[in-house]
Amino acid sequence: MSTLYPYVDFLENEETYLIVQEVWSDLIGRIAAVHGLETVGYMNLSQNGNPVRDGNPVVADKIRGTQKGIRVVLIDPIDDSGSFSAWFNNFGVKGSDEAVEELVLDMKMSHATLGISSILIELWMTDRLTDEALDDWLRPWSFEEE
């Protein structure tokens, strides 16, 4: 559907992974800043003292002072399955301080998926992304296999 983003070896190359992580953190942070918001990570992406670099998730940032989060899952560019999907998820015990209402974005990284992600993230941060709206945005990307 679109040319793959240059960093196709992010799962094998530590340096590339860090760049990709920075691209996403930066994108989410910049969109937040436009609306006077700040972001902060809400998941532990290091395990047993070592960073986990499997893309699942590559980044999980929430808007500081709110329970609204964005989790990005990146898949191997050579995977032959669909290239973009998104859904809402309640992470944590609903009503608790640690609970996060997530917009989860799952994709092969490309210029097109970065584009649609930017739009969805902005709509989500500004309370304009409903279930129906998300369905509409995903329609061009959806396909089913029996």
Partner: protein, 102 residues
């Protein structure tokens, strides 16, 4: 642990003082698998395999908070989620064997 999408929403959860062991985690995943219909299992077979591999390959446990999604990208919304909300999960149980000298 949750199986989601395609009209399915099943889960298995745990709450305990000690870290959840790998074997207990795998057993919970198996319980979740057994709750699903044959059709739902078919749609999620690869995702359960990936979740199983993830638990088996954890080195030294997983510290909260962490959420992982194993997605069937050929069927919209169909996925398996693992969420660790507090503490540590998927640690290796260590059996200590004492050899007593007579």
């Amino acid at each position: 642990m949750q199986a989601q999408g395609g009209g399915i929403e099943e889960s298995e959860s745990w709450s305990q003082d000690k870290p959840l062991t790998k074997s207990s985690g795998l057993a919970l995943l198996e319980n979740l698998w057994n709750k699903l219909s044959k059709r739902a299992q078919k749609d999620r077979k690869e995702q359960f395999d990936s979740a199983r591999r993830f638990i088996e390959n954890v080195d030294g446990g997983v510290d909260a908070p962490l959420g992982k999604s194993f997605v069937n990208r050929k069927k919209r919304g169909v996925r398996v989620d693992i969420e660790v909300l507090a503490g540590t999960a998927f640690v290796l149980a260590i059996c200590l064997i004492y050899f007593l000298k007579a």
